[in-house]
């Protein structure tokens, strides 16, 4: 009888796992364990290798080597087939019923073919319930390499104690990224190493991670990415015009604003929205605020420092009227609600006359219209400026 099943179960292996390890078919392994077949020598070697045991532990010597046949052949390992062709009964001794190990090699095996206990006869190892088991009936523990359940691995080696943490060197990708960032920051290898106090060849993976983080922050602070964001919502920090106008509003700096049709206004920036600029003009009657729609504004420029009197009075001849569309296709502004201009009015340039105050205010209001639906463009210019309605969102 081989000990394949016993050893396999002690190794906590399944038949499938053992089959995978040894490339022995599962059915054949099952036959081996059931002692239907003898384990071939090649498979003994493969199994012992897979189970990390010696071959003689798998197949005891007296089984591996056929015992010499007796006079009647009763002690032979393999009983010859019966004349009727029925399979031969298991010639090997049965395992003890109490779950103990089978007799070790060299232990006296019960005689095969001896009188079996009859029905109702007490089992030889079955003590009465609660009674102590007689010592004489305890099967002997296997001696030798199987003792202790270690299956021949020998005594456990002394513990190595607490395992030291594994120091992983930096990866090639980390080194490449560090060198790329160093080149972006115009840092030589020596400068880099002096900055971090370690040689780049000796850094660990953790160190490299920290280096990359620090270098990326430096690179971002030194040269922000030139990515241009489209579709940003007005009023955000990226709205540079809003930032500029906010600064000038605080400074109360005087400005000169030229409209699309050439009209000119002078005053301080009193307020602004994404679509309008409110300037404050000093007039003899007091300060006057005028709201200019950005769509009507062509450009503006600061004309003085903040805090002083506003340049309310434009120099003589400063105001000039510039036709927004010179040429035959020049359009003309139409007041809100007014009928569209006729073709002749469109074809002629805007009148190049000095714009009085009343006309100026009218001109800045001219682009205003009642279209609020055009403000739905997500990435476009503030369409509400064209429509004259500020978005409600």
């Amino acid at each position: 009888m081989n000990r394949l099943k016993l050893i396999r179960e002690r190794k906590s292996l399944t038949l499938a796992q053992l089959s995978a390890r040894t490339s022995i078919p599962l059915r054949l392994l099952s036959d081996y364990e059931s002692n239907i077949q003898e384990i071939s020598p090649a498979h003994v070697k493969a199994l012992s290798k897979a189970l990390w045991i010696k071959p003689e532990e798998l197949v005891p010597a007296e089984i591996a080597a056929p015992a010499p046949a007796g006079a009647d052949g009763a002690a032979s390992a393999v009983r010859p087939p019966l004349p009727g062709g029925s399979p031969a009964p298991n010639p090997l001794p049965e395992a003890p019923l109490n779950g103990g190990l089978p007799p070790a090699a060299g232990a006296p095996a019960p005689a095969i073919g001896g009188p079996a206990p009859g029905y109702g006869a007490p089992r030889p190892y079955a003590p009465a319930y609660g009674a102590p088991r007689p010592d004489g009936l305890r099967p002997p523990r296997p001696a030798g390499p199987l003792a202790g359940g270690d299956l021949g691995r020998g005594p456990r080696p002394p513990s190595r104690g607490r395992r030291e943490p594994v120091v992983m060197p930096a990866t090639d990708g980390q080194i490449t990224e560090i060198m790329r960032l160093a080149a972006r920051l115009n840092l030589s290898t020596e400068e880099l190493e002096s900055q971090f106090g370690r040689g780049i060849d000796n850094i660990t993976r953790f160190d490299a991670r920290e280096w990359i983080k620090k270098l990326r922050e430096d690179a971002l602070a030194k040269a922000p990415p030139a990515k241009v964001h489209f579709g940003q919502w007005p009023g955000l920090r990226d709205d540079r015009e809003a930032v500029y106008l906010a600064e000038q509003r605080e400074l109360r700096a005087p400005f000169r604003v030229v409209l699309f049709n050439g009209q000119v206004f002078h005053g301080r920036v009193a307020d602004f929205t994404p679509y309008t600029i409110t300037i404050e003009e000093d007039t003899p009657g007091g300060a006057e605020q005028i709201v200019l729609r950005k769509l009507a504004v062509a450009y503006y420029q600061r004309t003085g420092t903040g805090g002083g009197p506003a340049a309310a009075a434009p120099p003589a001849g400063e105001a000039k009227d510039i036709a927004p569309f010179a040429g035959p296709g020049a359009p003309a502004f139409v007041a809100p609600g007014a009928a569209p201009t006729d073709a002749s009015a469109v074809a002629e340039p805007a009148p190049a006359a000095k714009a009085p105050r009343a006309r100026a205010v009218k001109a800045k209001a001219a682009p205003a219209a009642s279209d609020s639906g055009a403000a739905s463009g997500s990435e476009g210019a503030p369409s509400a400026a064209a429509g004259g309605e500020e978005p409600t969102v």
Binding site: A226, V228, F230, Q232, P234, D238, D239, R240, E241, A242, Y244, F260, G262, K294, L295, V297, A298, Y299, Y300, Q301, R302, T303, I322, A323, P324, F325, A326, P328, G329, P331, A332, F333, V334, A335, P336, G337, A338, A339, P340, T341, A343, V346, A366, P367, A368, A369, D371, G373, A374, S376, G377, E379, G380, A381, P382, S383, A385, A386, G387, G388
Partner: protein, 135 residues
């Protein structure tokens, strides 16, 4: 001025007509009119559509087709490059005025140009919609 800005401007000059009103009058899709106005990339490849819009706005169709190449992203790329290199630029407005200088900053709606020899603290802030040409 890009075609988008020009459409927007023409809507304003016509009393603030909406894309739906334009669609009703021209037979175009209001969505197409809206996209023509809000997109930053090159738009207006359909000449028939531009011809209908030109007829509606009563302007020569060339005033629309000539603006297809002046799309907003192109101006943005130009300003970004010149702001980075600080090379001088010359901007020509729709009015015909020409302003040389360097780009101080630019945003979605406006750009700041520091005239040659001018005060960097007092740049000329130009609305992008009025820029007709740049180099």
């Amino acid at each position: 001025m890009s075609l988008s800005d020009y459409i927007k401007f023409m809507r304003a000059t016509k009393g603030g007509v909406t894309p739906w009103e334009i669609a009703d009058a021209t037979g175009l899709s209001s969505k197409d009119v809206h996209l023509l106005e809000v997109k930053h990339r090159r738009m207006g490849e359909d000449d028939a559509m531009l011809a209908k819009l030109a007829g509606y706005f009563e302007v020569p169709v060339e005033t629309l087709t000539a603006r297809r190449d002046n799309f907003r992203k192109r101006l943005t790329a130009f300003l970004s490059e010149r702001q980075r290199t600080q090379e001088p630029v010359t901007l020509t407005l729709e009015s015909g005025e020409t302003f040389p200088g360097t780009v101080a900053w630019f945003g979605r709606e406006a750009l700041a140009l520091v005239p040659a020899g001018g005060d960097p603290e007092a740049p000329l802030v130009i609305q992008r919609a009025v820029v007709a040409a740049w180099h």
